[in-house]
């Protein structure tokens, strides 16, 4: 390292070592992701700018109007020398549907402010964090065509992808036979076991240990279960206004760093579920007791 030239040459030599070929699996995964991703429209950037300009103009107009009103009041009335304190505006207590859910860091989970999406394929309406891309299902989900560990890339599911492309949430409905009775958590758990095996999911052996009882429509508490698998967190809800079994999945394990900003995959999924009326079965009384029994005994 006696000269700059030596250093440059040796730095270049050192950098030349290392991999230079992209593995096919990485390229394939990227292209699968591309297939699920909508392109930004050409006009969206200019439209954003136009919206920004409009907002600035409106803000400036409001400011000018406010100054004019204040000035007029001062001229006409002289204004109180010691204005009385402004009474606090009444605030309504937060309802369950508008309460913010805690996030350990990063993005605050406030599902009440999320945009909602109505599935043209299935009819349900679900919320997702702001800025996430939506990709609608183009066909119905079925066991015959969607046996790839559920539906992380299925055209039979509605998909929602985070702005940085690292987190995906999917929702879809699985049809039920008319004779199926999923009116209890154990019955739904049994059905989930069969779904898990049939779709080739990686971890079907510890469903009960992983299951969190939830209620679809809190008052009637139709059974729903959230299962935190190792690589994804999936909820299943049935009854009430839901046709078949509504499945909502976050395709990351609960402790994945990609969902840490949302408080983890489970917190993200619970926030999304709250927008379809599915809430944890922690209601005191009969429902809470039944949930505790289910957790303890599986019955």
């Amino acid at each position: 390292m006696n000269t700059n030239t030596d250093f440059d040459r040796h730095a270049s030599d050192w950098l030349a070592d290392g991999p230079t070929e992209l593995a096919d699996r990485v390229l394939d995964a990227a292209l699968r992701e591309v297939h699920l991703t909508r392109q930004r429209r050409r006009w969206s950037a200019s439209w954003r700018n136009a919206q920004m300009s409009l907002r600035l103009i409106l803000a400036a107009g409001v400011t000018v109007a406010a100054i004019a009103v204040i000035a007029a009041l001062g001229v006409l009335g002289g204004g109180p020398a010691n204005p009385s304190p402004t009474p606090a505006s009444p605030t309504s207590p937060p309802s369950q549907s508008t309460a913010s859910l805690p996030a350990s860091q990063g993005v605050a989970l406030d599902p009440a402010s999320w945009p909602t999406y109505t599935s043209a394929q299935y009819g349900f309406t679900i919320g997702h964090p702001k800025g996430w891309a939506e990709r609608p299902a183009t066909r119905a989900w079925s066991f015959a065509t969607d046996n790839d560990a559920g539906a992380p890339h299925s055209d039979g599911a509605d998909h929602f992808t985070s702005p940085d492309m690292t987190v995906r949430m999917s929702a879809w409905s699985v049809p039920l036979e008319s004779s199926a009775d999923l009116g209890s958590w154990p019955a739904l758990e049994t059905w989930i076991g069969a779904w898990c095996t049939q779709t080739g999911h990686a971890a079907c052996s510890e469903i009960h240990q992983r299951a969190v009882p939830m209620c679809n429509e809190a008052r009637d508490c139709h059974p729903a279960l959230l299962i935190a698998f190792d690589d994804d967190v999936i909820a299943f809800a049935t009854g009430g206004s839901i046709t078949g079994v509504l499945v909502v999945a976050v395709w990351r394990g609960d402790s994945a760093p990609q969902t840490a900003a949302y408080g983890g995959s489970r917190a993200l999924l619970e926030a999304a579920l709250s927008t379809v009326g599915v809430v944890p079965a922690t209601i005191p009384g009969e429902i809470g007791d039944a949930a505790a029994t289910f957790i303890a005994t599986g019955k």
Binding site: V26, E33, Q39, M165
Partner: protein, 185 residues
């Protein structure tokens, strides 16, 4: 040919984009690995870059600038990967002594290891400048254009990166070996 593919991909042709991705994939991985020094992180960065490129492609004004635009997306993806909280030093390579040329001081195992360790201490912005200049062979003005930062910033980052790497190697050279201690005793 590439411009035509870019135009088709920009209009939503996935096959055209797949062709572009296949052509660019190796180059992107090579750059990402050299910035991140971790194959897993580099692969994640490339995957993110390709998906983001597809989504944002309609906003690319000049199809001729596709490669440079892609590299800028890649560098930003590398920054994100570097800051995602994973340990950078999890994938330390064992250097093969078979590759060492005894006549070349810098290619000795110890010195290459010092370069590696020194490089891992650099922030990702300095790594990117160093790689664009020394690996891609771009001039500093070209690096500034590709990364979208002022020329003075590029010079500063390269200066600090070079000093850090030099210091790492020189510190290693100052460590007394057993034989030198024996001579001095």
């Amino acid at each position: 040919v590439q411009v035509a593919l870019v135009e088709r991909a920009r209009a939503g042709d996935e096959e055209a984009f797949a062709s572009l991705a296949r052509a660019a994939g190796d180059r992107l991985l090579a750059i990402a690995y050299r910035i991140l020094r971790d194959l897993g992180l580099a692969e994640d960065a490339v995957q993110q870059t390709l998906v983001l490129a597809w989504r944002e492609l309609p906003t690319l004004r000049d199809a001729d600038r596709f490669d440079a635009w892609l590299r800028r997306l890649l560098v930003n993806a590398c920054y994100r990967e570097a800051r995602r909280g994973r340990q950078w030093a999890t994938n330390v390579q064992l250097l093969s002594t078979d590759q060492v040329s005894p006549t070349d001081a810098y290619t000795s195992v110890a010195e290459r290891d010092q370069l590696e360790r020194g490089f891992r201490r650099l922030p990702p912005e300095q790594r990117a400048v160093f790689v664009f200049h020394h690996y891609l062979g771009l001039t500093l003005i070209e690096v500034a254009g590709e990364l979208g930062v002022p020329l003075g910033t590029v010079k500063s980052r390269l200066h600090y990166a070079t000093n850090t790497l030099r210091a790492a190697i020189e510190a290693d050279l100052r460590v007394p070996t057993n034989s030198s201690r024996e001579h001095s005793a």
